[in-house]
Symmetry: C2
Subunit: 185 residues, 2 copies
Amino acid sequence: MNYCSHCAQPVRFAIPEGDDRPRYVCDACGTIHYQNPRIVAGTLPVSGSRVLLCRRAIAPRLGFWTLPAGFMENAETTVEAAARETLEEACAEVRIHGLYTLINLPHIDQVYMMFRADLEGSFDAGAESLEVALFEEHEIPWDELAFPTIERTLRHFFQDRREGAYPLHISDITAEDRERYFGSA
Amino acid sequence: MNYCSHCAQPVRFAIPEGDDRPRYVCDACGTIHYQNPRIVAGTLPVSGSRVLLCRRAIAPRLGFWTLPAGFMENAETTVEAAARETLEEACAEVRIHGLYTLINLPHIDQVYMMFRADLEGSFDAGAESLEVALFEEHEIPWDELAFPTIERTLRHFFQDRREGAYPLHISDITAEDRERYFGSA
């Protein structure tokens, strides 16, 4: 951020009076430009014993497999965002159950919210997917998953399925976790 | 938003190519300025049979009672945000349990995430509070609560306490709900 989006004058990165952390501040018009984490909402669509994955047609991680998920938009709910992303990426309608994983990624200012869901009807590759397919647990391409949030959500699911209960899992992924996950990628 | 925060040229509100909703777009440098919902994180601090409330020293809803909560900041987790807000508004340390209410407010682009917590030790009015106090259920100032999210979280809590279990409650508050709540305020 270089300029004030309200008045076009240059901004400073400084701690506003009465605040305790630096913000982009416009001395000309007084606007403080707050920046806050974004929510990534998605689903874990289940069909019988299989789960649906999408192979990414876009960067980052083009060609890797993911659960349908994306940035929540203004004017929608978290459940609507998760359903919309599933429709966009997998052309799939889902019946959403509870929130299943809540994963904080403070180093990139994101909060993942993944919902368990039942796949209802057909699916197909949306514009952002190369292909969409259903996988049994032993077929999951663990070495070709797009993000650590996706791997973690799937590992919780298969573990919980053996135990017959699906509690909400809240956890964090640190910069170090992420570096380890991506390796030299 | 009037100007591009990257290059200071005027922005247009238009649907970018390949997108399906309008964004603030800069034709000069090509930047698309996405806007996304913000998370409000907070706690329901419990001490024995009583819950902690803060009377707001700031607008909006100055003088009304609330649970400690506020906008999640970049570089923190949802749990850290909830604990920080509790420390700032009530000078109180808490031990946080699970996520308790997740409330979508799509008309104002907010998602509330309230965590159940045990109050640990003392409390006092922080800079944004006129006073902080503990309330038994029958003492809750229902007509002087600041926001519908706070009333809903408290009503769930007292109901669930009678039933002995505290599941996550996911719900929405619409513009109509909010108007009804605030009445002529």
